[in-house]
């Protein structure tokens, strides 16, 4: 059996707001295997997004350890953490967060600007990512010219273009209609199954979460329940 890609031990995150101390995540232990599709569920304020942000390296644990691919992510300097994110993680936001002044192509190209590669290499990788998410014909469009579903496809292309091992998605269908949400979930499932990406997704929607191989429920910063899911051709059973 292979080693876990992500290992959290006693992972705790505390914020101070004025005189109040908030602990959205408390002494959490979690292992995520390579290629696993994990869904995080729970009520608002349960710590799902905090855990996602810690795994994505955009937040730091207050205590505990977080090892990803053997690297102590919590111990990296600000610059090294940025470099690590550019290589290892692709982040998919609920509200897409595309840069409005850039075209779909330029948005997808953004992460590659950080890597040493020729313009031709960059072009071929952007074209491949746009093709994979089925949005090649909208490459020259600006975000305002795209539908929500199309914007999220561009955001997914941006997340995968640098070929990271881990994809994190924070309610990726939260702002989409049912049809678009289903298409996006199908795409994410395909990335997990066919491209072998380790996918960690926060969702409030049980139907979306059911696409995952494992569902974790959080409440008040603690893990409360594990559920295994099996993705079927027509639906999901847990």
């Amino acid at each position: 059996m292979s080693e876990p890609l992500i290992q959290c031990r006693s992972l705790t995150r505390t914020y101070t707001r004025g005189t109040e101390t908030i602990t959205p995540l408390e002494r959490l232990d979690l292992d995520v295997m390579p290629g696993e599709f994990l869904a995080l569920m729970g009520p608002s304020g349960s710590g799902k997004t905090t855990l996602l942000n810690l795994i994505a390296g955009i937040d730091r644990p207050t205590s505990g350890t977080l090892h990803i691919g053997g690297i102590d992510v919590g111990g990296l300097s600000r610059s090294r953490l940025a470099d690590w994110r550019s290589r290892a993680v692709g982040y998919i936001f609920q509200l897409y967060n595309l840069v409005p002044v850039l075209t779909a192509y330029e948005n997808v190209e953004l992460p590659l600007l950080l890597h040493r590669m020729s313009g031709a290499d960059r072009h071929s990788r952007v074209a491949a990512a746009l093709d994979l998410v089925g949005i090649t014909d909208r490459a020259d469009h600006y975000p305002r010219q795209l539908s929500g579903g199309q914007e999220q496809r561009v955001a997914i292309a941006r997340a995968i273009v640098a070929d990271p091992a881990i994809l994190v998605a924070d309610e990726p269908t939260g702002d989409l209609d049912k049809a678009s949400a289903a298409a996006i979930m199908e795409l994410l499932g395909r990335l997990s199954r066919e491209a072998g990406k380790t996918l960690i997704m926060v969702s409030h929607d049980p139907a979306c979460a059911a696409h995952a191989g494992r569902i974790l429920h959080l409440d008040k910063g603690r893990l409360v329940e594990h559920a295994a899911a099996t993705v079927g051709a027509a639906g999901v059973t847990t």
């Binding site: 905090t50 942000n53 994505a56 955009i58 937040d59 600000r78 610059s79 940025a82 470099d83 994110r85 550019s86 290589r87 982040y91 936001f93 967060n97 840069v99 409005p100 002044v101 850039l102 330029e106 953004l110 992460p111 600007l113 950080l114 941006r158 640098a162």
Partner: protein, 383 residues
């Protein structure tokens, strides 16, 4: 500062807020126009008044007289000056001006003996007409290019001012701002034509010294020679003479330095404000870029580059406008018969652009620092 592959991102951010960018760039342009104009004014004054250690020309003036109207000396002083050791040449000169106070449109006639023509025409470029024409006619004048353009006169026409009318025999170009703004005429003609003074009376002597190191000694010797005469003299290096004559003007021009600095401070505040507003609008966007792996330092450099691009755009506009205005208007400040050229030389233009870029860097520093220090997760929570 940043790799060229990031430049489209920088430029597109500026285009995003078109109205704000255009207004800010126009503000920068106005300020840089003022800065370059002031710089040109100061350079003109410096070129005309600052001694370089290579000066070889002295001006002999009537003691305690400060205007061509009142400085009168007999031209018989010329041979006595010529005998003083170290003197290479003496040119007696009658100066007639239409206005003794500071003015942008002063016409200065300089009367010099025809036999001394070579000593003054050396270094002139004839733009139109000929020196031979000047030698033939008694009322002929060699008119400096700047004066000719300002007065709109051409070769073959007449130029009238201060009660003197001359025939324009040639238009000349010279590196010396004094020559660019005067009309050289035959000395006896000007002595007759001028309403003040008369035959045998000159305003000053221009003395060429054979060695720059002997400049002060020769000046002292000249003043000593005439100390007991009815018309004692004061002798100074030509640039010191100009500096004294234009003393008030030099002080005013010195004060304009503060205007230039104030313009820069205004630009700094203007661009800084524009960038702060722009960065505040993009807290989430910068957090997204950091999430993608952009380092804090790169985010800071992108923001500073926006400031530089904005200032450079405005700077190019302002500097070009200043250069064009100063070139085509051919401003020349005159006082007491001496002239200060106001011209935007390439160095002033380059300085203007460099200062604009520097202001862009400074204006972007604070917002860049703030943006680069924000925590990513906190930025997402805040918006």
């Amino acid at each position: 500062m940043i790799h060229p592959r990031y430049m489209p991102l920088v430029l597109k951010q500026l285009v995003r807020q078109r109205a704000r960018t255009v207004l800010t760039a126009l503000g920068v342009a106005v300020a840089m126009f003022l800065f370059v104009t002031v710089e040109a004014l100061q350079r003109g004054v410096a070129a005309a008044t600052e001694l370089t250690g290579r000066e070889v020309t002295l001006v002999v003036y009537r003691q305690n007289r400060f205007c061509p109207f009142s400085s009168r000396m007999p031209d018989s002083y010329a041979p006595r000056i010529a005998r003083i050791p170290g003197v290479a040449a003496v040119v007696p000169m009658k100066i007639v001006v239409n206005n003794c106070s500071a003015s942008f449109d002063t016409v200065t006639f300089r009367g010099v003996p025809r036999e001394k023509a070579e000593s003054i025409t050396d270094g002139f470029t004839v733009v139109s007409g000929s020196l031979a024409d000047w030698q033939r006619r008694s009322d002929a004048a060699l008119v400096g290019e700047t004066l000719a353009l300002r007065r709109g006169v051409q070769t073959g026409q007449t130029l009238a001012a201060a009660g003197v009318t001359v025939y324009v025999a040639a238009i000349i170009r010279s590196e010396d701002p004094q020559d660019q703004n005067v009309a050289y005429v035959d000395l006896p003609f000007l002595q007759r034509a001028a309403t003040r003074g008369g035959d045998g009376i000159v305003t000053q002597f221009n003395v060429l010294v054979d060695d720059p190191a002997r400049l002060e000694r020769v000046a002292d010797a000249i003043d000593a020679e005439f100390a007991r005469d009815a018309e004692p003299t004061t002798t100074r290096p030509e640039k010191a003479f100009v500096a004294r004559a234009a003393h008030d003007l030099v002080q005013i021009v010195g004060f304009t330095e503060y205007l230039g600095l104030a313009a820069l401070a205004a630009v700094l505040a203007l661009v800084g404000n524009a960038i702060v507003l722009s960065v505040q609008d993009r807290v989430r966007e910068h957090a997204v870029l950091q999430t993608l792996g952009f380092r804090s330092g790169l985010i800071a450099r992108l923001i500073i580059s926006e400031g530089v691009a904005l200032c450079c755009a405005g700077g190019v506009l302002g500097v070009a406008a200043a250069v064009a205005l100063l070139h085509f208007s051919r401003f020349s400040l005159s006082v007491e018969g001496v002239n200060l050229n106001v011209r935007a030389d390439p160095a002033a233009a380059v300085l203007g652009l460099a200062v604009a870029a520097g202001v862009g860097v400074l204006a972007g520093l604070v917002p860049a620092f703030q943006a680069s220090r924000r925590e990513i997760a906190a930025s997402f929570r805040a918006v």
